[in-house]
């Protein structure tokens, strides 16, 4: 696990690329390289606090989507005051970055093939995972709500795409593609990230077939380093896990279910 420098650091935005409904935020960041599945806390240096209801106030957690040359990439979707402000950033703007944080994905063992299952903006950590494992060693299944969002699929190589509205690729849920893949060959390790409903589907499908699954969870969090205890999810057998330090990648078998409750600052 890569540890983070102890402080947020000032980084510069070097580009922001439109990708359908998403933005790829490209940052010149001198921090340590992330392992796949790790995340960083981001906040704009200017205008962080001037939005709707004087938000945002807290930094926002984002998976590292990719390191390319000297750049670190994050995938954004405007869904609230924090993500909106980040989507507005332009070249040369300052960005506070703290990370990499959390426990990332673990390598597949026992000759299992890596099956990457992503939904929406949650495809981000699967991109850096595929970079690390090598495209030839991965099978990629991605699901999106509609056509503008399916454009995000270019972040990964050789992806099979599903869309909720049938506008692109398979008409239906990405979990249906997962079922087909597992029917064909269940000797796999599933890596998944996406909305809570999708992750719960992946968890249940894998649990039933005893296929190991590593789920990258999302949660609103105040700090990202284990201090606030705000990002918890219920652990199987009782108690809670902190998404920031026990995850964000958590084995499916550690959870009874994935619910949408962990949400919040967006």
């Amino acid at each position: 696990m890569s540890t983070a420098p102890f402080a947020r650091r000032l980084a510069k935005v070097v580009g922001i690329d439109r990708l359908g409904a998403y933005r790829v935020l490209r940052v010149a960041d001198e921090g340590p390289r992330a392992e796949p599945g790790q995340f960083a806390m981001l906040a704009a240096v200017e205008g962080w606090g001037g939005g709707s209801e004087q938000r945002p106030f807290l930094p926002r957690a984002f998976s590292i989507a990719r390191h390319r040359d000297d750049e670190t990439h994050f995938l954004l979707e405007d869904v609230g005051p924090g993500t909106r402000r980040l989507c507005e950033l332009g070249n040369g703007d300052g960005l506070w970055v703290m990370g990499p944080l959390g426990r990332g994905f673990r390598e597949p063992g026992e000759g299992r093939r890596a099956l990457l299952v992503g939904g929406g903006v949650g495809i981000a950590p699967l991109a850096i995972l595929q970079d690390t494992l090598g495209a030839e060693n991965t099978t990629v299944l991605l699901g999106f709500r509609d056509a503008p969002r399916t454009e995000g699929a270019v972040l990964l190589a050789d992806a099979q795409v599903a869309s909720d509205d049938g506008s692109v690729g398979y008409h239906g849920l990405v979990t249906e593609l997962l079922l087909e893949e597992l029917e064909r060959d269940a000797h796999a390790l599933v890596y998944a990230c996406g909305p809570a409903g999708m992750l719960e589907g992946v968890r249940a499908i894998c649990a039933e077939r005893q296929v190991p699954a590593q789920l990258a969870l999302e949660a609103g969090m105040a700090c990202g380093f284990g201090a606030c205890f705000g990002c918890v999810v219920p652990r199987r057998g009782g108690g809670y896990l902190r998404v920031c330090v026990d995850g964000p990648v958590i084995d499916g078998e550690e959870l009874d279910h994935v619910d949408a409750h962990a949400g919040a600052p967006a």
């Binding site: 983070a4 004087q54 609103g220 284990g226 705000g230 108690g239 902190r242």
Partner: protein, 297 residues
């Protein structure tokens, strides 16, 4: 800018608010750099209770204008788990910081109980541990008998502090609740009961509603209510710290929305001996070190 506080020698006047910095988790997240750049002159643990607590069901957080509401519910391993698992780790981190910086930050253990008996037991069982330098008593806890927060009523607070203060030889800091009619009367009561210092302000009781689409309108927070913190409460903190510092002779630890050396200076200028940084640690975990440096300049 070393400071003497209740017999403890501190390198500077900046500490952390209880529950806003988990040194054990931070040691893992930040590695050795946490030790080299440890930002607090004394380290305050999160609240320990007799029995383990899981904390509130999520959602536990809400972001407000210039602040946040937390409804965490004081999850902790209980007294036994704290002494067995966390205290040795905190002591080790303290020793590492001592090696790196020349002085180990004293550990202040924050405890909470629903009765004087519970609190006395917590203090007694911790008292023999040399690793603990002082206690902070969280009195924002409903009294098991009256249902009223122990710290909300001066008479009740004085009785409890008087009953528990003989249970330890170490300094006892009473962390006052701001959710009361007159916090300076509560500070006076804590002093009269035998407290060695008071700290304030704790979070202001607050809530947030789930989105309007959810009917009936209910709280967003799994715990129903929570506590507001951050810059949104700094002006309240300044007024309450000033009122308390005028009222009592014992030292005062001021906190509430501190983000900068100038914020800390404000609290010290109205009478705080030490200043705690809380919510701002979430936004930048190293902020307290910067505040301490700037205060010295």
């Amino acid at each position: 800018m070393s400071v003497s506080f209740c017999g403890l020698e501190l390198a500077h006047p900046i500490i952390n608010g209880s529950g806003t910095f988990d040194a054990i988790a931070a040691r893992r997240a930040f590695g050795d750099q946490l030790v080299r750049d440890f930002p607090f002159a004394a380290y305050v643990s999160k609240t320990i209770t007799l029995e383990p607590r899981e904390g509130n069901p999520p959602p536990r957080l809400w972001e407000s204008a210039a602040g946040m509401i937390n409804s965490i519910g004081l999850p902790n391993k209980g007294l036994e788990g704290y002494l067995r698992e966390d205290l040795p780790k905190l002591a080790e981190i303290g020793a590492e910081v001592g090696m790196a910086l020349g002085a180990a930050p004293p550990l202040i253990t924050n405890v909470m109980g629903a009765s004087a008996d519970e609190i006395a037991r917590l203090l007694e069982e911790c008292d023999s541990y040399e690793e603990i330098a002082a206690f902070e008593l969280n009195v924002s806890c409903p009294n098991v008998k009256t249902g009223l927060d122990i710290g909300a009523d001066p008479r009740q607070l004085e009785q409890v502090v008087r009953a528990v203060s003989p249970s330890t030889r170490k300094p006892l800091i009473v962390k006052l609740t701001p959710n009361t009619a007159d916090v300076s009367l509560c500070a006076q009561a804590a002093q009269d009961g035998g407290a060695d210092a008071v700290s304030l302000i704790n979070t202001l009781r607050a809530t947030a509603l789930a989105p309007a689409s959810a009917k009936p309108r209910r709280s967003w927070l799994g715990g129903g209510t929570g506590g507001l913190s951050g810059p949104a409460i700094r002006a309240v903190a300044l007024a309450q710290v000033a009122a308390v510092a005028q009222r009592v002779e014992i030292p005062v630890i001021g906190m509430g929305g501190v983000r900068s050396a100038s914020d800390a200076r404000d609290l010290m200028d109205v009478g705080a001996s030490l200043v705690a940084v809380g919510t701002e640690n979430f936004r930048d975990p190293a902020v307290a070190a910067r505040i301490a440096r700037e205060l010295v300049l």
